[in-house]
Amino acid sequence: MSAIQIDIRDNVTVALARMQAGLQPPVVNPAIGTAVKKLFQDHFLALPKNKQGFPSTNFWSGAARATTWQLLAAGVIIRVDQQGVGYQLRGGDLKPGAGKTYLTIPATAAAYGHRAREFNLKFAIVDDNGFQRPALVARRSVASLVTQTQTGKYKHTADAVGEVVFYWLVRSAHKEPNPSVIPSEAEIGSTAATAVQMKIAALLRTGGPS
């Protein structure tokens, strides 16, 4: 009986080559980027709104929309193109800009999410529970106290000014780093690994790029 020999190496080689091509970084990294982007977006959307309870400026949903992935020669990065996210993450010291003396801290809902120059405000020193604090205030009303003298004439005695503090003024501010504003390294790693597994599953379905 003649022996037979079936050579399947060429078919295997081709299949393996296709699988290998399908697992190259330029092919896998977009899937990783997509998965990790969604991880970041979901994380941002779940973050609590501002501590003061002011009407939301939708900062974190904006960060979610500003989140994309980008391929690099060495891999893939996640970028969040929204000012302020880095400061929330890393913290640090804030000082007034050039030519300015104070930073503004919103004291009322109307001020939150606005620049002080959008309003017609006055500088004032305000008593805040016994502390005299610099502030920017909106003067809403002025009531004049008029008293009658013994001669029967009226004279202006005092003014009571109705003020609303829009911003407290501070010379600097410090924020502690808050790593919880982005997913943990473990979550990112796990998500990336899952994306690679999904890519492998896709390659097994399709046989890899032709």
């Binding site: 092919v27 970028r79 000012q83 620049r115």
Partner: protein, 251 residues
């Protein structure tokens, strides 16, 4: 994990940078009926805004927002200071959208244009051929609450009927989720002003003015569970006519 500041513009920022200024005296309805959607996508305009300087200020502000180099309050202040410099003040009704100098109008122009550029950038990434075999579908989800939300589920069903995507229709009916394949024509119908008067005529979010909805990628297994495909399906990328969709070719 390394954290750093991006050195290059995102796709969204690049796409927006290529837009031309389009001064127009038309109102919103007139813009929609008299200026083709493809021209609108390639232009920066605002209803009844003929001042090219104003559009230029908006372009700068929006570009800075997209690059992460400014914030909405600073961008709005720059526009308000421009109006002040030319002697224009708000009429007093700060919620009036037809008042070019009102906070409401300025916020709408800034926010809508930023989000449109972001939506376009996401469309490009979502349809990267290297992604389709792992994330072949998109889900319409709520990113922001609204006091008076639109009935997006009803709009989804109408868009599914209009586009003929019965699987997307069934996905919502069966699972409560608004999911469709990335190359589904439902993404054109969802923003169609012929179907929905407040539609923005783009196949990417925001699909309507001041919408809090956005899209997110959906993985293969989930798309399969929802009945959108099976293991034999080969998902083709959505055809994107960049010449008519954007003014700038992607990198």
């Amino acid at each position: 994990m390394t954290l750093s500041i991006p050195a290059t513009l995102s796709d969204s920022a690049r796409l927006f940078a290529g837009k031309n200024l389009l001064p127009t005296a038309l109102d919103t309805a007139g813009i929609r009926t008299q200026i083709a959607a493809s021209v609108r996508r390639q232009s920066l305009f605002s209803a009844r805004t003929l001042l090219e300087d104003l559009l230029g200020k908006y372009k700068t502000g929006i570009g800075d927002l997209l690059a992460g180099e400014s914030d909405p309050a600073t961008a709005r202040l720059a526009i308000k200071e421009y109006f002040k410099s030319i002697g224009v003040t708000p009429s007093g009704e700060t919620g009036e959208l037809t008042d070019l100098a009102s906070d409401a109008r300025i916020n709408l122009v800034l926010k809508t244009n930023v989000q449109l550029a972001q939506g376009a950038g996401h469309l490009i990434q979502q349809n990267d051929p290297a992604v389709l075999d792992t994330f072949p579908a998109l889900e319409l989800v709520r990113f922001e609450d609204r006091n008076k939300p639109r009935d997006w589920e009803q709009r989804w069903l109408e868009a599914a009927r209009d586009s003929g995507d019965l699987k997307a229709y069934a996905a919502l009916a069966d699972s409560g989720r608004m999911v469709a394949l990335k190359n589904s024509p439902i993404w054109d119908s969802l923003g169609s002003s012929e179907l929905f008067p407040d539609g923005l005529d783009n196949p990417f979010p925001p699909f309507a003015f001041s919408s809090g909805m956005w899209t997110q990628d959906v993985d293969w297994d989930t798309a399969k569970e929802l009945g959108l495909l099976d293991d034999e399906t080969e998902v083709q990328p959505r055809e994107i006519d960049f010449a008519n969709l954007f003014n700038t070719e992607p990198a």
